[in-house]
């Protein structure tokens, strides 16, 4: 029987299948959103208290006020660029990068290549 971790992991994986951000999108984000996304790219997953601790540990000029942080997390979550599991202080955030799509070449071309590579 799957445990709570397995169920949460499944929920994250399902949500990660929906859209996600590309590295090029990051360059177009407003500075505050980009700062949060860069932090999340390195941390991969953070609970809300850990997130506020990480922001508080930044140099003075780079800190994000609490209200702005909450609003930014809402924006990033609505866009599907961060995945939020749970609410409030118990919320866990995870970064959601868009899958690299495969080639648009016709399947027959790949099939032929595979056959040749087998030999």
């Amino acid at each position: 029987m799957p445990g709570i971790f397995d169920r949460l992991q499944k929920e994250i994986e399902n949500k990660q299948g929906e859209g996600g951000i590309t590295a090029l999108d990051l360059a177009d984000l407003p500075p505050t959103l980009r700062k949060i996304m860069r932090l999340m790219l390195r941390e991969l997953q953070l609970g809300y208290p850990e997130m506020t601790d990480a922001i508080a540990s930044l140099p003075d000029a780079e800190r994000i006020p609490s209200k702005e942080l909450d609003e930014s997390l809402d924006v990033l979550t609505r866009q599907g660029w961060l995945i939020r599991i749970g609410e409030g202080l118990k919320a866990i955030y995870k970064v959601n990068l868009r899958r690299k799509s495969g080639s648009n070449l016709a399947g027959g071309i790949w099939g032929t290549l595979d056959e040749k590579l087998k030999k």
Partner: protein, 261 residues
């Protein structure tokens, strides 16, 4: 967050000596006593494994296996200090803390990635896992030339980005694009490295011109070298020929990386 630094090595165009430079920088930083990883994200045309003496027979699990969920990232790590110290230069790496995360050189596995794509979240988890599992001080990412998903991701997560260019107008224009993107992505430390500079030109003049053009620091100007070409990626050049001008200039770049806090 891991204390380790991610160093991405990039060039807008091919043929700048990116993989050779990455291998040499990683080796010099490992020789300085640091724990170093090198990952080959040039999935479509991998090559850096050659400099570390790996071939298809020696290579175990690869980044491709990790991206297909066939192994953990720790299983991809190839310990250079233990296994590949087999050439004059590489012998100096014996006992050093240096690991390579190679990409597959099997045609079918390369074509599978190109055909099916992959989970970019997993690639990023792999990078962070490399830093954490091996307690790395530095993770060097060797990228495909130009801009694609792997390259942009590696730039976005970098603590240090080294852009390699030749003194050539095509390289200058392409480098301007990469510098713009790096600044848009808030990369904290940007270094430029000029490679294959004709010895008849003054290195200090080249450095000044490039720094004025890009408003970024040039960590080294490395000469075009027939000795380097003759090495033919068979060994780590700066270890084999430490007194060569190319090697001295390369060590200046590795020192710049080590000095970044």
């Amino acid at each position: 967050m891991s204390k380790g630094k991610i160093v991405s090595i990039h060039s807008f165009r091919g043929g700048t000596g990116k993989s050779n430079t990455t291998a040499n920088l990683a080796a010099q930083v490992a020789l300085a006593g640091k724990r170093v990883g090198v990952v080959d994200t040039d999935i479509q045309s991998p090559g850096i494994h050659v400099l570390f003496g790996l071939d298809e027979n020696k290579m175990g699990k690869t980044l491709n296996d990790f991206l297909h969920g066939k192994c953990t990232i720790g299983e991809v790590a190839f310990n250079i200090g233990e296994k590949a110290a087999d050439a004059d230069g590489r012998a100096k790496l014996s006992g050093m803390n240096l690991w390579l995360f190679p990409s597959s050189i099997r045609g079918r596995e390369i074509s599978q990635i190109l055909r099916e794509g992959y989970d970019v979240n997993l690639l990023n988890q792999g990078f962070q896992g490399m830093l954490k599992e091996l307690d790395l001080d530095y993770l060097f990412i060797d990228t495909h030339p130009g801009l694609n998903e792997e390259t942009l991701l590696s730039i976005a997560i970098s603590d240090i980005l080294v852009i390699i260019l030749r003194p050539d107008d095509q390289d200058f224009q392409g480098t301007a694009v990469t510098v713009d993107i790096a600044r848009s992505l808030d990369v904290p430390n940007l270094l430029l490295m000029v490679n294959k500079a004709l010895p008849k030109y003054n290195a200090a003049d080249i450095k000044q011109t490039v720094e004025e053009n890009f408003k970024a620091s040039v960590a080294g100007v490395l000469p075009l070298s027939f000795d380097m070409a003759e090495n033919a990626s068979q060994d780590i050049f700066s270890l084999r020929f430490p007194d060569h001008e190319w090697s001295k200039a390369l060590r200046g770049v590795s020192q710049s990386i080590l000095e970044i806090k």
